[in-house]
């Protein structure tokens, strides 16, 4: 073949390829994978994980519970994700994104050439469809609230096959974080169900594996009711390691259901499980001293984002409802009363006795794990019964001869703390607080209630004096807790759903939170949220007590095991986990 013939053949080939692509209306299928620098391992093997409860669904729109979310997160992927180690938002299915229009318009460039786990291409149409489903009020997906900004759902438009434009009604700081855990859905599989109104029933646990496809590292292989759920490697996953090999390394991920934390730990100890996460300090200490767990990786990732706190019921009682509670509420409403309670609580003792030292004492709702947002200026006053007594005396309280604290009218200060009976840590915390407050002359009863019964009292009937609660934010950003700090919020626990802020400091918190939500300068946002934290520390509507450490364990041979402080604590990097050479590569037999 002469050079003329070769050139002619090449030109014809290029012409043919070009016309074929144009005819198909698509760009050449170059796969824009994400390469993870520094990640290198060996492929093969399986990992068995025991969950506390069975997942309830595989439908990303309706997976509320932790177990379902843990599985759904391995089957699917988001446009933008929060890196569980740095807590910063990073592009995932999005190759990049730009923010314009005064912080209202996000232009998201998708990675080209990606495929769902069933081999079908992922395009901007899937993104538009996914947002349409999440934002549909009739479907009622809980994520819908995340996607309502300034009272309107975010508007998602297709620009081209690999670009979408997301427009917000008003500027929203760090809006990209909203897209974490909003899994992209396959339009080719779910659009019909959406149109005929059966999307809520789609992807139940009993669905055929072929009917489910996602963009996560794994895809469904088998479900055995009540027993196990097996995922297999997604051959089209879009991340590759430092050497360009497609992730994940593990061939299979098997979820089994233990029923309790103790059972999870026993299965790990017996060699049935490759890892265990979300452990309490008691079980962590047990594993640490158990000879059979010798060699296992026991990791204390430090305090998480969960904050446990005591709060008083400040919700005004309907007239004539409960006169005695109204009297008690008049004490609780005094800032100095709450400050005195806070000063009397021995947080160090709580950390030591309840969490075996694996927790951090707290004086505000932002834990040390949230390095970007925690306000170092929030005071950490040492426990002082003497100081607490002075505050109470200044607020009109006094002590009867038998050392009982009484109010100005001579009524003994006596109230009940409700807590969840199923949470041993909080029940023990309540007992310690009961003892601490007895040193101030307060008579405190502790009432451990069944979890939902407690929620009913706190959130519906408001028939309680004080409660111990714990909240773990789904994100490190303060916007995630708007519902807690705004006086109109349903989770403004001490006095929820106020028509108008009932105190000046709540009004200021409302203003600061609203302003930081739309402020684009991170420095300004930080200053505003610092002020909110200072107001909370000064008035103590929630008396923060402790933040437990994130504790996890894995078998010795499991590499890249790196628990994070944001859920999912241990499986966030499942695509990078691998078994080292010479290890039993099933994770389902042998000792840790």
């Amino acid at each position: 073949m002469t050079w003329r013939q070769e050139a002619g053949t090449l030109c014809a080939g290029i012409f043919l390829l070009g016309t074929t692509c144009l005819a198909a209306g698509r760009l050449p299928a170059v796969e824009e994978t994400e390469q993870l620098p520094g990640v290198s391992g060996q492929a093969g093997g399986a990992l068995v994980v025991y969950q506390r409860a069975e997942p309830k669904t595989l439908n990303p729109l309706f997976g509320f519970d932790v177990s379902s979310r843990e599985v759904i997160g391995r089957l699917n992927a988001d446009l933008i994700t929060i890196n569980r180690k740095t807590l910063r938002a990073e592009p995932a299915l999005a190759r990049s994104f730009t923010v314009g229009g005064g912080g209202r318009v996000y232009t998201v460039k998708l990675r080209r050439g990606l495929k769902f786990s069933d081999g079908e291409p992922f395009t901007a149409d899937d993104v538009v469809f996914s947002f349409r489903a999440y934002e549909d009020g009739k479907l009622g997906a809980p994520q819908r609230d995340l996607l309502i900004v300034g009272g309107e759902p975010v508007k998602v438009e297709r620009v081209d096959e690999a670009t979408v434009r997301i427009t917000l009604a008003v500027p929203y700081a760090a809006a990209e974080r909203l897209f974490d855990s909003v899994a992209m859905l396959p339009r080719h599989l779910l659009e019909r169900a959406y149109e005929d109104g059966s999307l809520a029933k789609a992807w139940a646990l009993t669905a055929e594996p072929a009917a489910i496809a996602g963009l996560g590292p794994y895809r469904l292989k088998q479900y055995v009711a009540g027993e196990k759920l097996v995922l297999e490697r997604n051959p089209h996953y879009w991340r590759v390691d430092a050497r360009g090999r497609r992730l994940p390394y593990l061939d299979a991920l098997e979820f089994r259901f233990a029923g309790s934390e103790d059972a999870q730990v026993l299965h790990f100890l017996n060699g049935d499980a490759g890892m265990v996460s979300g452990m309490g300090a008691r079980n962590f200490a047990f594993l640490a001293r158990e000879p059979r767990a010798r060699g296992a990786q026991l990791v204390d990732a430090g305090p998480g984002l969960e904050y446990n706190f005591l709060f008083f019921n400040l919700k005004p009682q309907p007239p004539g409802e409960d006169a005695e509670r109204s009297v008690r509420q008049s004490w609780f409403a005094k800032d100095d009363f709450r400050r005195a309670v806070s000063l009397a609580i021995d947080r160090e003792a709580v950390v030591r006795l309840v969490y075996g030292g694996r927790a951090q004492p707290l004086w505000g709702p932002v834990t040390p794990a949230d390095r970007q947002w925690v306000d170092a200026g929030v005071p950490h006053p040492a426990r002082s019964i003497e100081q607490a007594r002075k505050l109470l005396a200044g607020a009109g309280f006094r002590w009867s001869p038998d050392r009982t604290l009484v109010d100005a009218e001579g009524r003994a200060v006596e109230f009940t703390i409700v807590t969840s009976a199923s949470n041993q840590e909080r029940s023990r915390m309540a007992t310690i607080i009961q003892d601490d407050l007895s040193q101030l002359g307060m008579k405190v009863q502790v009432a451990p209630l069944e979890f939902r019964a407690m929620l009913d009292r706190v959130m519906n009937t408001h028939r309680y004096d004080a409660a111990i609660f714990g909240l773990a934010s789904g994100d490190a950003d303060p916007n995630a807790d708007m519902n807690v700090w705004l006086s109109s919020g349903g989770m403004h626990l001490w006095n929820a759903g106020q028509a108008h802020p009932s105190t000046d400091w709540e009004r200021e918190i409302d203003q600061r939170m609203e302003r930081q939500m739309s402020e684009r300068d991170p420095g300004q946002r930080k200053r505003m949220f610092d002020r909110v934290q200072e107001l909370l520390a000064a008035h103590e509507p929630v008396i923060c007590i402790a933040s437990p450490d994130i504790l996890a364990a894995a078998r010795a041979g499991l590499k890249n095991f790196d628990p994070a402080v944001l859920q999912p604590y241990t499986l966030w990097n499942v695509d990078r986990l691998y078994w080292s050479e010479g290890q039993n590569r099933t994770g389902a037999s042998g000792r840790p």
């Binding site: 069975e54 509320f64 139940a204 009540g226 233990a258 026993l266 939902r452």
Partner: protein, 301 residues
């Protein structure tokens, strides 16, 4: 026979109605509902929770919900699980199979053990087997199934035998709980039959050994044991739910406990109904066997 069967079926239907209404009422009286926990997520608005509550009819009055559920249950539709968002029948089918397997094997084993030991004890009253079984029965009667299951889990966790979450662990926890009552009744029935005048007469005619026990004593003692047949299976089933939850056997038990904790109303009501139906079926089977075996029951009054 038809009248006898019709009466028994009517009793069973009334029992099912009463149990289902009672279960529904108890579940309803417990504070909170399935979506209460979702409300504690700061990122979820109360309006979204209300939409979800409405989807499952939780915004309707309890009586209306019970009526609609019962009407559907008669047609074999036990409602939709709020947690799993799938029909309760689909949820129950594989788990019920495992529960019946566990209860069935434990039932057979407990009957075999009870009958064997009762025969040995009744043949030589006051002998070492009799005294030994009396001691064993007392010991097993005072140990609740829950405690026995927990102890076995501890052993399994320490030694790896039997396997945690395995079938043998669940059977080992369940069968010993059912056997003592059966053993005690079987021994008493056999002793009573062994002392009957017709047995004395048979002995006087020189009949003894295995023939005396197989042909004379055992058939005469069968009547009270048959009554226990159905009841013991139903009793075992109720114990199964708790034992399953403790030992990790994936039957109805863990699902039922989880449903109670999360207020998955239709699962609670359905499990109550199915358990009552199995109890009624056990009783009915025992009644029919007695009807076949005992001519006094067949005789019109």
């Amino acid at each position: 026979m038809a009248w006898f069967l019709a009466r028994r079926l009517a009793h069973a239907a009334a029992l099912l109605m009463a149990v289902s209404a009672g279960t529904f009422a108890l579940a309803e009286l417990a504070p909170g509902d399935y979506f209460a926990e979702l409300r504690t997520d700061p990122r979820v608005d109360a309006a979204a929770v209300e939409t979800l509550r409405a989807r499952y009819g939780l915004d309707r009055p309890p009586l209306a919900r019970y009526g609609a559920w019962m009407a559907a249950a008669v047609r074999g539709d036990l409602g939709v699980s709020i947690a799993y968002n799938m029909p309760v029948t689909e949820l129950l089918r594989p788990r019920l199979g495992r529960t019946l397997e566990l209860a069935g094997v434990s039932w057979v084993l407990s009957w075999m053990a009870a009958l064997g030991l009762a025969m040995a004890a009744a043949m030589r009253p006051g002998g070492w087997v009799d005294r030994g079984t009396a001691w064993l029965v007392s010991a097993l009667l005072v140990v609740p199934e829950l405690l026995l299951a927990a102890l076995l889990v501890l052993v399994a966790a320490r030694t790896g035998v039997p396997r945690l979450g395995g079938f043998s662990l669940a059977v080992a926890a369940l069968a010993p709980g059912a056997a003592p009552v059966l053993l005690r009744h079987a021994r008493a029935a056999l002793r009573e039959a062994a002392g009957a005048p017709f047995v004395e007469a048979a002995r006087a005619r020189g009949i003894g050994g295995g023939r005396l026990w197989a042909v004379y004593i055992f058939p005469a003692a069968a009547n009270p044991m048959v009554s226990l047949f159905g009841l013991s299976f139903a009793g075992l089933l109720s114990g199964t739910l708790v034992v399953e939850a403790v030992t990790g056997w994936p039957g109805v038990g863990p699902l039922f406990l989880e449903a109670i904790a999360s207020r998955d109303f239709y699962v609670i009501a359905a499990v109550g109904l199915v358990a009552a139906a199995l109890l009624a079926a056990g009783n009915l089977a025992a009644d029919l066997m007695l009807y076949a075996l005992d001519p006094r029951i067949r005789r019109p009054r």
